[in-house]
């Protein structure tokens, strides 16, 4: 008995001799909170990659469409040609799925738009884009089909969205399939190069972006900024 109690006293004595432990604990609490915030991510955000490229393209009605026209809207882009057939991987079915998702989504007043950029202006005339849109059951109020001069396309799609493509001697385009989402401020938020058979990831990210757009004003903005900081994504 005696021995045990004196050991306990000894322990108390040791603690009192080391106030550092107490202060260490005090430091550990906020540190743990930060780590928890980083690991659990109570607020999830979609990264901000960079400024989305500026462009002036022509749509399937021969009208102009610029990135400024789409400001204030969340825009999902895919890049393809209307003659994309195997082995070309077609992202159109995914866009169709996202169109249905967006149609039934409560966006809280924030418009969500789809844009298909054709890499083949020579063959993809406005008429052909219209036929393509009909084939995909595209809602013209939600989904734009555009193209532009080869130089401009290279600059915007290659330079801006970083999707590189080539055209072989038969006029066939070769490119890796990709989807991109740009927010209402013209900031490129996400590029999908893999997992393109499933719309679930894009749908989750769209929901997160809408949530952020609705909630990140005022003091909550700083919490969202912190969430951006702790997000693990490649920096360029």
């Amino acid at each position: 008995m005696n021995t045990t109690s004196s050991r306990a006293t000894q322990k108390t004595l040791d603690l009192s001799k080391k106030p550092v432990l107490l202060w260490g604990a005090l430091l550990a609490v906020p540190l743990l909170a930060v780590i928890l915030f980083a690991v659990v991510q109570p607020i999830k955000v979609v990264p901000r990659i960079g400024l989305a490229p500026g462009f002036i393209f022509t749509d399937m009605y021969g009208r102009q469409l610029t990135n400024e026209d789409l400001r204030g809207q969340i825009v999902i882009y895919n890049f393809t040609t209307t003659s994309c057939e195997a082995p070309c991987i077609d992202t159109a079915p995914l866009m169709q799925e996202l169109q249905e998702f967006v149609k039934h989504l409560d966006t809280g007043g924030i418009p969500v738009t789809l844009v298909t950029i054709s890499l083949d202006p020579e063959r993809d005339t406005p008429e052909r884009l219209q036929a393509y849109a009909r084939k995909l059951n595209a809602d013209p109020t939600l989904w734009h089909f555009v193209t532009g001069s080869p130089e401009r396309l290279k600059q915007v799609v290659g330079g801006g969205f970083e999707l590189y493509y080539t055209q072989d001697e038969h006029g066939v385009f070769h490119f890796a399939p990709m989807l991109a989402i740009v927010d209402g401020n013209g900031i490129l938020r996400v590029r999908y190069k893999r997992g393109l058979e499933d719309a679930a990831i894009a749908e989750r990210d769209l929901r997160l972006m809408l949530e952020e757009a609705r909630n990140s004003s005022g003091a909550a903005g700083l919490v969202y900024e912190a969430a951006h900081l702790f997000l693990c994504y490649p920096t360029y």
């Binding site: 009192s16 202060w23 901000r48 990659i49 960079g50 500026g54 013209g186 900024e225 360029y236």
Partner: protein
């Protein structure tokens, strides 16, 4: 038992005697922790969100470019390493938006006082066909002494503007080839010293708001 009671008493006395230094030590450690934390936060933490601009905080920097300038020699973005760049696209015959924005930027620079040394205002013309370097120099002098005007070829300008998400096009008002206005994106883009887009200011943010936000986001 007696021994235990005695030792407890001795302990209490010892603790009482030590209480003051413990608290002083504690306060010191707390002060160091707070100061260290504050420094770490400033160094690694998020830039304070701007109040009037749009936070961008992008990871991908703007690709460097070199253009002829109103300084009389070509300049590259990387020449201003260490400074925050405030970039605006416009043209000298712009009737409304450009002069208003440039006047606000000039005023904001004055309001920044000493902090203005940490920024560089850049004006990139979207109308290089009509805007000569001399013309830009005369024009920019109206708005402040530290503006630098940049002028590229038509192709260079389009590629550079696109990087910033900026578009522009001619709007003709008569049959004359030189009688046109430029329809262009009106945002002011702030880059951090690593050329990463930091904040976007939409058109219509006042000089006071620009200066206040620039002060907030610079560290």
């Amino acid at each position: 038992m007696q021994t235990d009671a005695q030792s407890d008493l001795t302990l209490q006395t010892e603790r009482k005697a030590r209480r003051q230094p413990v608290w002083i030590n504690g306060a010191l450690i707390a002060a160091i922790l707070i100061a260290g934390g504050w420094l770490l936060w400033n160094w690694l933490g998020p830039h304070p969100a701007p109040q009037y601009g749009v936070p961008v905080n992008a990871g991908k920097p703007i690709a460097d470019f070199r253009l002829n300038s109103t300084l009389g020699h070509p300049v590259a973005l990387s020449d201003f390493a260490g400074r925050y760049l405030v970039v605006y696209f416009g043209y000298t015959t712009c009737p409304d938006i450009c002069p208003t924005t440039l006047a606000d930027l000039g005023k904001a620079e004055k309001l920044l006082g000493k902090d203005a040394q940490r920024i560089q205002m850049l004006f990139i013309t979207v109308d290089p066909e009509r805007d000569s370097i001399e013309r830009m120099r005369d024009y920019l002098a109206f708005f402040g002494p530290n503006f630098i005007g940049l002028r590229g070829s038509l192709q260079e300008t389009e590629a550079i503007a696109s990087q910033f998400g900026v578009v522009y096009q001619k709007q003709y008002h008569s049959a004359s080839a030189t009688d046109y206005l430029m329809d262009h994106s009106a945002a002011v883009i702030v880059l951090d010293p690593q050329r990463r887009p930091l904040v976007l200011f939409p058109y219509g943010v006042s000089a006071e708001q620009l200066a206040g936000d620039l002060k907030r986001v610079m560290r």
